[in-house]
């Protein structure tokens, strides 16, 4: 059964290829340009966190990468092909995306929610194949949601709800996954719970993951690569140690801070001092 969900690409490959790339994209809501001439590459098997202050364009960028927002110029390229020219169903079999705080209709059960992750694999004729059934059952048990399968999504706690959505994204069976602030409105232990789940998706399932996060310490702990944005521009990208410097925190977040080693994971940890300016 695991074979159904396992990562299809060869992990032994030496040079990881670019799975998803933004090329000189300009993103705007009406006349308001949010992101301009931005380049970004997500390598196969990577775990990237996009960080930055409110309104810096990180969620907008993620939407563009997930073809929910069409760039006014430049393009997003998925596996070497322009994403805008690929049928949306085809994209949905490779690229999964969870918007910030998605809403489930009232009365929908967890099992039904996760089952709808199979939508891109289904057709009018083929509505519930054995594959669908196996993948959904596995996604439920892998995310520890099997016991809650018959519960309505709206009756779950915030943390369980987020697990249900991640379970749906897992059932979608895409090897690329974009998550927009999956920890919003969750208390710290549930934030850890969700991020552990995402980290396992990356480590055990070989998913290429990009996630927008607010919490710098958690981003540094879970992601291998950080992308720091400010005013629609990528200011720095690299390993957490390369990106999370005291200088960058001052430049990007207007924050005076010390950066020390996280006593648990050894990743950089931000200790704020005061807001600058």
């Amino acid at each position: 059964m695991t074979a159904v969900l396992s990562h299809p690409t060869d992990l032994q490959r030496t040079a990881p290829r670019v799975r998803l790339a933004a090329e000189q994209v300009r993103l705007a809501y009406g006349d308001r340009v949010v992101v301009d001439s931005l380049d970004l590459e997500l390598l196969d098997g990577s775990f990237t966190a996009v960080v930055g202050p409110n309104g810096c364009g990180k969620s907008t960028l993620l939407k563009a990468l997930g073809r929910l927002l069409r760039p006014t110029s430049g393009q997003v390229v998925l596996d070497g092909k322009p994403i805008a020219k690929t049928p949306t169903r085809e994209v949905a079999r490779v690229l999964g995306m969870l918007p910030q705080t998605p809403v489930a209709p009232e009365g929908l059960t967890v099992a039904d929610l996760v089952a709808r992750g199979r939508h891109p694999h289904q057709s009018w004729l083929r509505q519930w194949s054995r594959d669908d059934e196996d993948v959904v059952a596995e996604a439920l048990s892998w995310t520890d949601m099997a016991d809650l399968a018959d519960r309505p999504v709206d009756a779950l706690s915030g943390g369980q709800r987020q697990r249900a959505w991640i379970s749906m994204a897992l059932a979608q069976g895409t090897d690329l996954l974009l998550l927009d602030e999956p920890t919003t409105y969750l208390d710290l232990s549930h934030q850890i719970d969700v991020l552990e789940l995402v980290a396992r998706l990356h480590a055990e399932r070989g998913r290429t993951v990009a996630v927008v996060l607010h919490d710098l310490n958690l981003a540094a702990r879970y992601a291998q690569r950080l992308v720091a944005m400010k005013d629609g521009v990528v200011v720095a990208s690299g390993t957490p140690h390369e990106v999370l410097t005291e200088q960058l925190l001052a430049d990007v977040f207007d924050l005076e801070a010390r950066v020390i080693d996280d006593p648990v994971s050894g990743t950089p940890m931000v200790v704020p001092v005061r807001r600058l300016r």
Binding site: M97, P99, A137
Partner: protein, 361 residues
């Protein structure tokens, strides 16, 4: 491959997985039982309705006649005189039920329906214009009069639908915006009807008022055929959209992420829903509350997260035909069917509001 009927490992055991060759699907017991029971009830009530009149015919005799085994007199009375009324009732109810289910799912709002979106008001304005202005000397009046009442109603409904679509469309249709635009247009339509009525003679006003209430009186095959043909095309389209609608309920972004062509699906759904409502209004007048109430009853009977299309259609047909039968049997005076559906529907609407469903907020 032989058909398999297995019990799936997940979910309650009400669900059955059906797989035949490359085809597969999940069937819930209630998803199957409710439409079947509704259909059976519809057949019985329809037969009872066709048997009712100055020359009473028993239900079994009516059924025998319908399959072509009745005597010539009964044959004539049933197929020529009484069947059109019932068939129009069935088709109108079917159209209203499905249309309401589509709009409510799409708008993610149980208060959304062709009634509240102004389709009925627009169609009424078209029809009343014909009744009131049709006899007058003005060129516009003669033009309208020449159209005939059903066509004018259809035109009024479609023009309203087009306006809703144009005003609500912003790179896709937002459910909330759709409802607000509909409420506004509904007010305009009602104002137009009122204005026309104040200018009319007492005879025209009476005729118009009966029509506005929605009635199956005096329907012939002339109303049934066009309605039937339109539904023959639109019902399959609506059912084919069902899967996409289920995903569209998650909101535009999640739906697009799951590979749904959001704009195209929305356009088809809204177009199908408003056209169904408009043709049904043109055939029988704006029979109120069916499209609003029936989908909500259906979702409670069938379960699930959204009004089921087929069950909504069949229950809609059942409600209209039963209400029509009621007006002609139990009540002392033969009232237009729209009054009965409104009497059932209005309290239900109030109950929905009082109950304050979370989906409303």
């Amino acid at each position: 491959m032989s058909p398999t009927l297995t019990r799936p490992r997940l979910g309650p055991d009400k669900r059955r997985t059906v797989r035949v060759g490359p085809a597969s699907g999940v069937v819930r017991t209630r998803q199957l039982v409710v439409p079947v029971v509704a259909l059976a009830a519809l057949v019985v009530v329809s037969a009872a309705s066709m048997g009712r009149g100055d020359y009473p015919i028993g239900v079994l005799d009516v059924l025998r006649t319908l399959v072509g085994a009745g005597d010539p007199t009964q044959q004539f009375i049933v197929t020529e005189l009484r069947a059109p009324r019932v068939v129009v009732g069935v088709l109108v109810g079917l159209a209203l039920g499905i249309s309401g289910a589509l709009v409510q799912t799409f708008a993610r709002n149980p208060l959304a329906s062709p009634d509240t979106l102004g389709i009925n008001a627009g169609a009424s304005a078209g029809a009343v214009a014909v009744i009131v202005l049709g006899g007058s000397a003005g060129a516009g009046g003669q033009l309208l009069g020449g159209l005939g009442l059903p066509l004018a109603a259809l035109l009024g409904g479609l023009v309203t639908a087009l306006l809703i679509f144009v005003l609500a469309w912003r790179k896709g249709v937002d459910g909330y915006r759709l409802v607000l635009v509909g409420v506004g247009l509904s007010a305009v339509g009602i104002a137009a009807v009122d204005w026309l009525l104040t200018r009319s003679t007492i005879q025209d006003a009476t005729a118009a008022t009966v029509w506005i209430t929605g009635s199956l009186n005096g329907r012939t095959w002339d109303q049934a055929w066009p309605l039937g043909l339109v539904l023959l095309v639109l019902v399959p389209v609506a059912l084919a959209c069902s899967r996409q609608l289920g995903v569209l309920q998650f909101g535009e972004e999640t739906a697009r992420a799951l590979g749904v062509r959001v704009g195209a699906t929305q356009a088809v759904v809204v177009l199908v829903a408003v056209t169904m409502a408009a043709v049904s209004v043109s055939a029988a007048g704006p029979i109120g509350f069916v499209a609003l109430v029936v989908p909500q009853v259906a979702v409670r009977l069938v379960g699930g997260s959204r009004p089921p299309l087929l069950a909504s259609g069949l229950l809609g047909a059942l409600l209209v035909v039963a209400a029509d039968l009621l007006t002609r049997t139990v009540l002392p005076v033969a009232l237009p069917v729209g009054i009965v559906t409104a009497v059932v529907g209005a309290p239900y609407l109030l109950w929905l509001l009082v109950r304050g469903r979370r989906a409303l907020t």
